[in-house]
């Protein structure tokens, strides 16, 4: 029963908010209540799954190969819970961040469709249904990105729309091919049948799917849309996108290769390794080239996204658990950093690190708060980014190239963030900034809340490590099939 609520609540909220289109009062409060309900449903789903194993629900009572099945195991339930929590944080932040014009043009309904699409993509057990959720995400994110119609936003939107539409077409092509080859689209049934089809056909299908998902995850060489679009929308939208959207692509790759077509992994792992290494290196170098805070974060996001595929490249439970831990931590950290950048923008009106300075003296609390996600992003012990990174390095010792690129990326992340830090916090003020009213609580609350959660995870990583270990154990068949191939 419970699994369907994480999808239903946001979609119903979207419908409700559309019906309140002409009622400006109370929309924000309703959105907040809806987000809180969604977060509760997410946490409830997670606790149910942790206590009593995977939950499944057949929509309208049609049994699986005929109807659409929703299924949440620990791997997807944790992501849903985290996504709904990030959704709640973004709703709070959006309260003061999204202007009236954007609210009037339907920010909240779009936001909930996006959240419903993300939750749906995480819990569906039907590949075509996943396509539909991807389209939900895609369309609402298109509009959210362009909402407001500023010149730079329109530019950013087209940069985002073009590659993502192409990726949808590839996804659909892959669906046609896999349906033709196996005669089913249910994930459990696909997992049984992909092993029996012609290996080269299976490899072709996997390549089509991984390319489609890789485009959404901003893997090399399809990453340039991300830094060219994520710096344009308001902070609330950018934080939501950065935290969750690329991870949906990563989730889809892991789900496809790890669950649906584990036998094809041997064919694509060598290519995937090279793609990941290039993504890591280029993303990290790109971060150094820019002075726009959001672009720096966008490139770092690309540089780190490929770590999360290590669980497929090195098929052991330990590496999958570490990569998954890294993914969960990264969602929190990058969303938190985008929030803090929004606060910096509020205080200074600038986003160029060359024009910002002296923030430490003026806003010491901001410096302390932002230090937590920053140190965690780099992976300085004992911050939360450090724990999964140890696991990643241990796992990657089997593939020296990947090992080297993790180290390389850590240093470049350190360098990029040190550059940011020395400019905006430690040096003296460079330009006269007009006196701004103090930062609204609705902006500060989610940022510091996330920072506090990151701090707690840093100090007590054991429960999360335990959880990720259990989530990774759900891919046991994948490890069994591929351990000999590495």
């Amino acid at each position: 029963m419970s699994v369907i609520f994480v999808v239903l609540i946001p979609l119903l909220m979207a419908a409700l908010l559309v019906s309140l289109w002409n009622v400006p009062k109370g929309r924000k409060i309703i959105a907040l209540i809806g987000s809180a309900a969604h977060a509760l449903a997410g946490v409830w789903l997670l606790t149910t799954v942790i206590q009593s194993g995977a939950v499944a629900k057949n929509i309208s009572g049609w049994i699986p190969p005929f109807g659409i099945e929703f299924r949440a195991d620990i791997f997807s339930a944790t992501l849903v819970a985290l996504a709904s929590f990030i959704g709640l944080c973004v709703t709070i932040y959006a309260h003061s961040n999204i202007d009236d014009e954007r609210t009037n043009f339907g920010f909240h309904p779009l936001f909930f469709v996006l959240l419903g699409g993300i939750s749906g993509a995480f819990v569906t057990a039907d590949l075509f249904n996943m396509f539909v959720w991807f389209e939900c995400i895609l369309l609402s994110s298109f509009v959210l990105l362009g909402l407001g119609g500023e010149k730079k936003q329109l530019r950013g939107s087209l940069n985002y729309v073009i590659p993502n539409l192409f990726s949808s077409m590839l996804f659909l092509t892959g669906l046609g091919l896999i349906y033709g080859a196996t005669g089913t689209l249910n994930m459990a049934q696909l997992a049984e049948r992909t092993a029996q089809i012609n290996p080269s056909t299976a490899a072709l299908i996997t390549v089509v799917f991984v390319t489609a998902f890789g485009l959404k995850a901003a893997l090399f060489p399809f990453f340039s849309w991300l830094p060219n679009s994520y710096h344009t929308p308001p902070t609330a939208v950018a934080a939501l996108f950065a935290g969750l959207l690329t991870k949906v692509g990563i989730y889809a790759i892991i789900r496809f290769v790890g669950t649906i077509a584990p036998t094809t992994a041997a064919a694509i792992i060598p290519i995937l390794t090279i793609i990941c290494v290039l993504t890591i290196v280029i993303g990290s170098i790109g971060a150094l080239a820019h002075t726009n805070l959001r672009k720096i974060l966008g490139y770092l996001l690309i540089g780190h996204i490929a770590f999360m595929l290590l669980g497929l490249i090195v098929p052991t439970q330990a590496s999958m658990a570490a990569a998954y831990f890294y993914m969960l931590n990264h969602i929190l950290v990058i969303t938190c950093l985008f929030f803090f950048v929004g606060i910096i923008q509020w205080h200074t009106g600038q986003i160029d690190i060359r024009k910002i300075g002296g923030l430490q003296a003026k806003y010491p609390a901001l410096a302390v708060g932002m230090a937590i996600p920053t140190l965690s992003l780099i992976g300085i012990p004992p911050f939360s980014g450090f724990w999964p990174k140890i696991g990643l390095l241990q796992a990657a010792s089997e593939t020296p190239l990947f090992f080297a690129s993790i180290i390389f990326s850590s240093f470049l992340t350190l360098l990029a963030m040190a550059k940011v830090w020395m400019n905006i916090f430690w040096r003296a003020e460079v330009t006269e900034t007009p006196e701004m009213p103090p930062c609204p609580t609705t902006k500060a609350l989610p940022a510091y809340l996330l920072a506090a959660i990151i701090l707690v995870i840093s100090l007590f990583p054991a429960p999360i490590a335990d959880l990720t270990n259990r989530a990774a154990s759900e891919f046991a068949p994948y490890f069994q099939i591929n351990r000999g191939d590495q």
Partner: protein, 126 residues
């Protein structure tokens, strides 16, 4: 035989579609998108097997469907995909129009801001 013909047609549509996507003008990009969408739908259609004049109806007296029959699922998938692509296309068309109005060019090259220009534009929504 029909399958071969449709496969060739799909290939042609894919080729022209991708070629147009790589063009610099946005209108050509839009047309490429239409062609690619059709090519994709044809792939799904062909992959669920081309069967002529055999609707999936269980004959009187029989318990299960006897092959050959046209697979309704593939067609249902295409129907969904067509509806989605219709919406996406309408949105993209409007977006291109708005972008053209805003930047006064339909050249994709003009979409990429010169390095650093993103910093000079006013941040209206921090």
């Amino acid at each position: 035989m029909t399958e071969l013909a449709v496969a060739i047609l799909t290939g042609i549509l894919f080729t022209t579609g991708v070629y147009l996507l790589l063009e610099r003008t946005m209108i050509k990009f839009l047309i490429g998108l239409v062609l690619l969408g059709n090519a994709t739908n044809l792939v799904v259609f062909t992959c669920s097997r081309l069967v002529r004049g055999a609707p999936p109806i269980i004959p009187k007296g029989e318990k299960i469907l006897q092959p050959p029959f046209a697979d309704p699922l593939g067609q249902a998938l295409i129907l969904t995909a067509i509806v989605i692509s219709f919406g996406v296309l309408a949105f993209t068309m409007m977006l291109i129009r708005r972008t053209y109005d805003a930047i006064g060019s339909d050249d994709v090259e003009d979409l990429i801001e010169p390095l650093g220009q993103d910093l000079t534009e006013k941040e209206s929504a921090p």
